[in-house]
């Protein structure tokens, strides 16, 4: 299983803050996972589509499209940060 987290505007646009997801067949990277979520359509497609300013963390470390994703990982999607 994967633990997926969504923060800030993404959480609101998707209407969900967290979910558990069985690792989809063929998904091995952040980019693959994002494409899988976009394929859900609706808000998922518009919110997570390519070209959107989006950050991803895998196991609480900033990640890139090629970062590996595997069973047990915590993957978070969020907008560019605005603290301080």
């Amino acid at each position: 299983m994967l633990k997926l987290l969504y923060f800030a505007m993404l959480r609101e646009d998707l209407g969900i803050g967290a979910e558990e997801l069985a690792l989809p067949a063929g998904v091995t990277t952040v980019a693959g996972l994002r494409a899988h979520l976009v394929a859900r359509g609706g808000a998922w497609a518009s919110t997570l589509a390519g070209g959107k300013a989006l950050r991803v963390a895998v196991n609480q470390e900033m990640a890139g499209p090629a970062t590996a994703v595997g069973p047990g990982d915590e993957v978070a999607f969020f907008p560019p940060v605005t603290g301080g």
């Binding site: 560019p80 605005t82 301080g84």
Partner: protein, 157 residues
Amino acid sequence: MPTIRVQTEDFDAGAEIAQIRAGNPRVGAVASFVGTCRDTNDGDAVAAMTLEHYPGMTEKALAQIVDEAIARWRVLDVTVVHRVGELKPGDQIVLVVVSGAHRGEAFAACEFLMDYLKTRAPFWKKEQTPAGARWVEARASDDEAAARWVAGTKDAA
């Protein structure tokens, strides 16, 4: 030992400065920064803001940034306090305190910490304006400020 706290409560900058100096005669300089909530942003009145964060990653990201500052400038100690939750104009948001032997490294590390915190620590601000609530967008100028330290043009070491 660095102090890193994420909290809803306000903080006392004076008490934190006193604490970082306490019992350490090697300290010759303390630099501090306090970020506060403005009543306007991008030309609109801001009545309040909500700060959201990613519990777990926030503390980890701040610890990494602090470790980097200590290693780079060999400062003696660092305190970072960042508030989350509901804030009003005038409220304190963030505190960075750096102690060192000399002012140069303390100033530099303090500025570096703020620049990196603003671009790497998972916090998000949502503002209440007369037109409704809106998420604050990341600024390119913040990325540029953080990038200066990579390029080394701001390196005081």
